[in-house]
């Protein structure tokens, strides 16, 4: 889910894009006026050897205070690169002991957390927590969170009382807090549909589901606050612009919807407002991201589409 990742580089006036296409990740950087500057392709390879390529599930930039890493998840394992994709700094192979034969094995769901961790989900429901030093390659697996029983789909984080949200194939959500270790705050039960995408903002969890619904929950308590029938088909991507609370959703129905999250100043209730719709004709969307933290521009990718489509506010 969400095969697109965007890294805005304010100081360089550039935006990096990473799009997953089967077994490769295409990196492109573009300037504000839209002229493509550079291009690179990455593949999921074990330790640098060109073994048979495996399908890449996701690629995402993780922004930590001291460094930015590009993380790739695939059927073989997890790779971490420097932000421009030039050097691989870490490789973690998924255990392929004797998996139950009918089960697929893969990593999926990537998020930076608490300023020093990168969390990655797996098909068995585990969430791997990696400790990232401020520089160098001495990355270690510090913790494994075992709470989900179905494949992880997405992970989100923010600095707040609730630090991490993890979502899985069955639609269950787990909310965590991290101090020395991660501890489970609350669990939100599934209602029968896969939760494919999840975001965390201002103590609000925004979750996108396979039936096209977006649900908003109070992160600390897990209480459901709003249900929106946002799309006619499977939601593939949610993204959040943290400075404004804008939320975007992209789905197989070929629509990108833009919403605004807020809290009522009087009641503290979570509110959601629909702002904009965009139809990417004849395209089942696979990824969608804001291009800046205010949410003034966004980009989308789709199945069989060899382009990244960018939209800006005029």
């Amino acid at each position: 889910y969400n095969n697109l990742s965007v890294l805005p580089l304010r100081d360089k006036q550039l935006t990096y894009f990473a799009a997953v296409h089967g077994s490769t990740v295409s990196l492109a950087s573009a300037s504000a006026d839209g002229l493509s500057v550079s291009h690179r392709q990455l593949q999921a390879k074990e330790g640098g050897l060109a073994v048979s390529a495996s399908i890449v599930t996701q690629a995402s930039w993780c922004v930590l205070p001291s460094r930015v890493l590009l993380v790739l998840t695939s059927q073989k394992g997890i790779q971490m690169y420097e932000s421009d994709g030039s050097i691989m700094v870490y490789w973690h192979a998924l255990d392929v002991l004797e998996p139950p034969p009918a089960q697929a094995v893969f990593a999926r769901g990537i998020a930076a957390a608490s300023g020093r961790f990168i969390c990655v989900g797996t098909s068995s429901g585990l969430v791997l927590v990696f400790d990232i030093p401020s520089k160098g390659t001495n990355i270690t697996l510090s913790e494994v969170l075992e709470e989900h029983r179905d494949s992880i789909t997405d992970i989100a984080s923010e600095d707040g009382d609730a630090d991490l949200v993890t979502a899985d194939d069955s639609g269950a959500l787990c909310v965590w807090r991290s101090k020395e270790e991660f501890s489970l705050l609350t669990k939100i039960s599934a209602f029968g549909w896969t939760c494919s995408s999840v975001k965390l903002w201002n103590g609000v969890i925004a979750a996108g589901y396979g039936n096209g619904q977006i649900r908003l929950y109070e992160a600390m308590s897990g209480a459901l606050r709003a249900t929106v029938s946002a799309h006619a088909r499977w939601i593939y991507a949610l993204d959040l612009a943290p400075l404004t609370g804008k939320l975007l959703s992209g789905a197989e129905d070929s629509y990108v919807q833009i919403w605004k999250l807020s809290r009522s100043p009087d009641t503290g209730d979570i509110e959601i407002e629909h702002c904009h719709s965009e139809c990417v004709t004849d395209t089942q969307l696979c990824g969608a991201r804001f291009c800046d933290p205010e949410g003034n521009a966004f980009a989308a990718t789709g199945y069989d589409l060899s382009e990244i489509v960018r939209y800006g506010q005029v």
Binding site: G212, Y303, D304
Partner: protein, 345 residues
């Protein structure tokens, strides 16, 4: 000499040939050993491997096809299946599509109880294996299939005509569709969605409701496909064989076991075969073979030629069970022509 053909005789002969071909192909495909191999949990085959299996199946009867017609048949099949998988409103619908396929197959052989039994058995195995998977697991299967079909944009006449495919090869996604999931929503985005009437049946017999997977050619339709401009952006391709060997050893093993389950009928001297040409004339077929774009050519594995590379005794044994078939593209001659054959009667 070439006398005038009596229409009734032609129809009767055509009918019996079609029946024989259908019977043979379906019997071969649904035989127990082959199905056993297919049902084993395994990675998705490479494009080469799939095409090889397909070739074998297509030649499981007295019917023969030249390379160009075979390529075209395969193109039609892949684009049609891609369309069906892509447009499934719900991820579990890919199972209904398969059931539609099986229902149609059963209809072809409804007068042959033995083969019908085999097909029903496969049907039951599919129900057992897949019915209880979750929507998320079906979505993963669907995504894996879609990755396999990614970047194939061969234009198919019947799809262009029905306006389900654009001239750039992409499929049209309906945004006003009566079978989508939701009640009317109030956004001003131009789409309108109405809740579905009922869900299709996942039982052995039942109304599937879903139209995807039913016979596209139930009314007589053109079979043309168009190559040009089919793959515009090669930068996004990953070369299918980056490794030195065209096929990894494990995949060859899978393929051998799969083939071991396919008993191929060899047309002997006295039994007439016939060659199916999907183009209008022989010349057109030859031209198509010569002008097929490089990136779209299917490299079929010739299993017999690699026999000496295999150390594994088991594989050699399975290979030994194969009947060596004629090389289809070379052996056709005017004697195989349906017309000439009819003259002899």
């Amino acid at each position: 000499g070439k006398t005038a053909l009596l229409p009734q005789r032609t129809a009767l002969l055509m009918g019996s040939f079609v029946f024989a071909v259908m019977n043979d192909i379906i019997t071969t495909m649904f035989n127990k050993k082959f199905m056993e191999e297919l049902f084993k949990p395994q990675e998705l085959y490479s494009k080469k491997a799939l095409r090889t299996v397909y070739d074998r199946l297509a030649h499981a009867s007295i019917m023969r096809l030249n390379q160009a017609s075979m390529d075209k048949l395969y193109d039609l099949m892949t684009m049609a299946f891609k369309y069906q998988v892509l447009l499934c409103p719900r991820s579990k619908d890919i199972l209904l599509v398969t059931f539609n396929h099986l229902d149609a197959i059963k209809d072809f052989i409804r007068d042959s109880p033995n083969i019908l039994n085999q097909v029903d058995e496969t049907f039951r195995q599919l129900i057992d294996m897949y019915s209880c998977l979750s929507a998320g697991e079906f979505q993963l299967i669907r995504q894996t299939l879609l990755i396999f079909f990614q970047d194939m944009h061969i234009r198919v006449s019947i799809f262009l005509k029905d306006k389900v495919q654009n001239s750039n090869g992409r499929f049209v996604l309906p945004i006003s569709d009566h079978s989508l999931l939701f009640k009317r929503v109030e956004f001003t985005n131009g789409g309108s969605y109405i809740s579905p009437q009922r869900e299709g049946s996942f039982d052995l017999y039942g109304d599937r409701v879903l139209k995807l997977g039913t016979n596209m050619y139930s009314v007589s339709r053109p079979v043309e496909t168009h190559m040009s401009g089919a793959s515009k952006n090669l930068a996004s391709h990953t070369k299918e064989n980056a490794a030195p060997n065209p096929l990894a050893k494990e995949e060859l093993n899978f393929l051998a076991r799969l083939m071991g389950g396919l008993e191929i009928k060899k047309p002997n001297g006295s039994e007439p075969g016939f060659r199916l040409n999907l183009f209008t004339t022989d010349e057109e077929e030859e031209y198509a073979a010569l002008t097929r774009p490089e990136e779209l050519s299917y490299k079929v594995i010739n299993i017999q030629a690699t026999q000496d590379q295999w150390q594994n005794e088991e594989l050699a044994r399975i290979m030994g069970e194969f009947e060596v078939t004629d090389q289809p593209s070379q052996s056709t001659s005017k004697g195989d022509d349906l017309l000439a054959m009819m003259d002899e009667l």
